[in-house]
Amino acid sequence: MTALPPRPGHPAPRAPIDLLYSGTEDELRAAVRSLLADCCEPAAVLARAETGRPHDPQLWHTLAAGIGAAGLLVPEKLGGAGAGHREAAVVLEELGRAVAPVPYLTGSVLATEILLACACDGPEAADLVRELAVGRLVCVPALPLTLAPGAPLPAPLHDAGGGVLSGTVTSVADAVAADVLLVLADTGLHAVPADRAVLHPVVPLDLTRPLATVTLEAAAGTRLADPATARAAVAGALLSGAGLLASEQLGLAEWCLTETVAYLRGRHQFNRPVGSFQALKHRLAQLWLDVASARAAARAAADALATAAPDAPLTVAVAQAHCSGVAVRAAEECVQLHGGIGMTWEHPAHLYLKRAKADSLALGTAGHHRGLVADFAELPAP
């Protein structure tokens, strides 16, 4: 347990890293949590998911415009809250805790980051961001949810000239809730009104984050940025998205732990609370350790993104390599330790398991992120 000196020539990371929550962040959390407690309890989420239209526009409106969550990453001069990744991460923790079916990760994080990076290229991107920031419209990137930072981008769609686009993108999350799609074409980034695209919803593993295949057949859009700017914007957004997804995973894992502990305290078998059996206590204690460490990893990623730290890509990769597994483990333990009730449709555990498993593929698997760690930490493969 004794510290060894760091490797020579491998300086310690920038000194000030803030892993705690500020008072403002606590207030934001309280606001989001109370909204979700009122409008997004698991039974309602499930009922909505069964209709095939999981998104709740009313909830989204209150979250995005009422609380102002949609504009957290947007600077004030563009109509946003001028907050940052640390605050957005807190919102995502709460959304994960509620498996809330809202296009926050796709719209308020990924699309917003893409547009912000393109806003200097022309007024169109800036105008879209303004709308997005106040929750007046939903805009999501037409990219596969599995697309990871550091991975090659998919082949761009074809632009027949003047922004008339054709092609297909699979596994686009939240496209069904979108007003505008951000499309990566060979001529750059385009904004395409969603009603000009053909959407084929697929049956998603995660009932709370709908997926669709998006097909454009000579659909006209507005060009927002040139190809180089567009690619850089997408790469940056994927990094932020992956870093903040860790907070969603943290919130999800925390719900699973809390619910399971509560259940095992109340459930009696063999004339004692099931939670007094050591085999279960040790599993829950281990899960608690996992959640505590996921919190540190997720906060580090959010802080590194917020401060544009030079080691942000490494910190994000570490968070993703760690938090995906924790969320899946927590959800799996939640199902198992609830026994028969955990296998039922009516108990919400399955919503969490499905979200956790889908999240473990979203924005790069843990294995992909470990590969990135290998690069950043200079631990090359054989």
């Binding site: 510290a3 760091p6 491998h10 705690l20 059996f277 050591q278 996921a294 570490v318 631990l379 054989p382």
Partner: protein, 396 residues
């Protein structure tokens, strides 16, 4: 007067100016540091401190480290610093505090911990070492056997718990003492361990006389005192600050980089997994430290020992495998009597073997998981039938 960071920085600089580390004997510097109240800033004045907030220690330590000031070899005197000192501060008389804290901090007197016994490990409160008061002499007479006592061979003093009333339930009849390891009747026998060396000992106590003035806390209240010690033992590990890729992962990562011939795909996957876990553990420790500094202590401390024990074992195990044929070789099985646990200066085989103790010493991982489950998560305790039975009637 409450001191702030600026005051402490100024005092630290005054100390450095009056006793330039380069031109001062290390022992003299340490003495001056203690007397300036910069040893433990949160301790009272006159006892090595200034009554400042505990969190400001980092300001002093950082400044002294940067100036190349000598330290008091905290690893050699870890039990004294981490366990004896906070317990003496909390429960000691003024006389005891003044007698013991200064030499302890200076490293002039090494301490050991006479807690575990052959029949009382995890169930420490079951201990059977007896202490009987000789009222005329005002001394306690102690008989019993302790075991796994780290550093007993170098220690001048020991914290000791013994049974003073066998007729009450086990947690009640225990009393806490400060025991002179040079007293007649104290016999230390090396206990050789898995690494080949004897870092810990068996200690036999036969008619050892301890003056009542060396009792810590009230008679029969020793369990509460011991809990202070045990809490400090576990917390002292979580508070440690590591740089990225510090700790056990450093030598494996270095070997990986420097010796491409050792690499395989399977080892690469394991190394990356452990590198990530080590980084996350480092961040978790850092978050704990920030919580403490912000005065909002979280329960994470209870978990850090568990995490580090598991990681140290997995990482050192990987390292032995990574080294291939070299991993088959051990540096030296000669029986030695080390003064410290040396994770830095020794080879992978030693690290692998010594790390096995990390999940046993200071409370086993099983016991710590119970503590997390009950105290952090609020899960019910297992049914216990030993709570109200007098110690003498318990099965042994």
């Amino acid at each position: 007067m409450t001191l702030d960071a600026a005051d402490l920085l100024a005092r630290t600089r005054d100390l450095l100016a009056a006793h330039p580390p380069g031109a001062t004997a290390p022992a003299d510097f340490l003495r001056a540091r203690f007397d300036a109240g910069l040893a433990w800033v949160h301790y009272p004045q006159g006892l090595g401190g200034l009554g400042a907030p505990r969190t400001l220690q980092a300001v002093v330590d950082g400044e002294l480290e940067a100036a190349g000031a000598p330290d008091n070899d905290p690893r050699r005197i870890g039990i004294g610093l981490g366990m004896a000192a906070p317990t003496i501060l909390a429960y000691g008389t003024e006389e005891q505090k003044h007698r013991f804290l200064r030499p302890l901090w200076l490293g002039e007197e090494v301490w050991c911990q006479l807690f575990s016994e052959p029949g009382a490990g995890s169930d420490l409160a079951a201990l059977g070492t007896r202490a009987v008061l000789d009222e005329e002499a005002g001394e306690w007479v102690v008989d019993g056997q302790k075991v796994w006592t780290s550093s007993a061979h170098t220690a001048r003093w020991a914290i000791l718990i013994a049974r003073t009333d066998p007729t009450v339930p086990k947690h009640r009849g225990i009393t806490y003492f400060l025991c002179d390891m040079h007293a007649p009747g104290v016999e230390v026998r090396p206990l050789r361990q898995i690494t080949g060396e004897a870092e810990f000992n068996e200690v036999f106590l036969t008619g050892v006389r301890i003056p009542d003035a060396h009792r810590l806390g009230a008679v029969g209240e020793g369990w509460a005192v011991a809990r202070t010690t045990l809490m400090n033992e576990r917390v002292s590990i979580g508070g440690m600050r590591l740089p990225r890729e510090g700790g056990m992962i450093a030598p494996v990562a270095a070997a990986w980089r420097e010796r491409p011939g050792l690499r395989t795909h399977a080892l690469h996957q394991r190394l990356l997994g452990l590198w990530v876990e080590a980084e996350v553990a480092r961040l978790t420790g850092e978050r704990l430290r920030q919580q403490l500094a912000a005065g909002q202590p979280g329960p994470e401390g209870s978990g850090m020992k568990l995490t580090f024990a598991r990681l140290n074992q997995e990482i050192s195990g990987l390292e032995v495998e990574l080294l291939g044929e070299e991993g088959l070789v051990y540096e030296d099985w000669t029986m030695r009597r080390p003064e410290t646990v040396d994770f830095t200066g020794r080879d992978a085989g030693y690290r692998y073997l010594r790390a096995k103790g990390n999940s046993i010493e200071g409370g086993t991982s099983e016991i710590l998981l119970n503590i997390v489950a009950e105290r952090v998560l609020g899960l019910p305790a297992e049914p216990r039938d030993d709570k109200d039975t007098p110690w003498k009637d318990l099965a042994r």
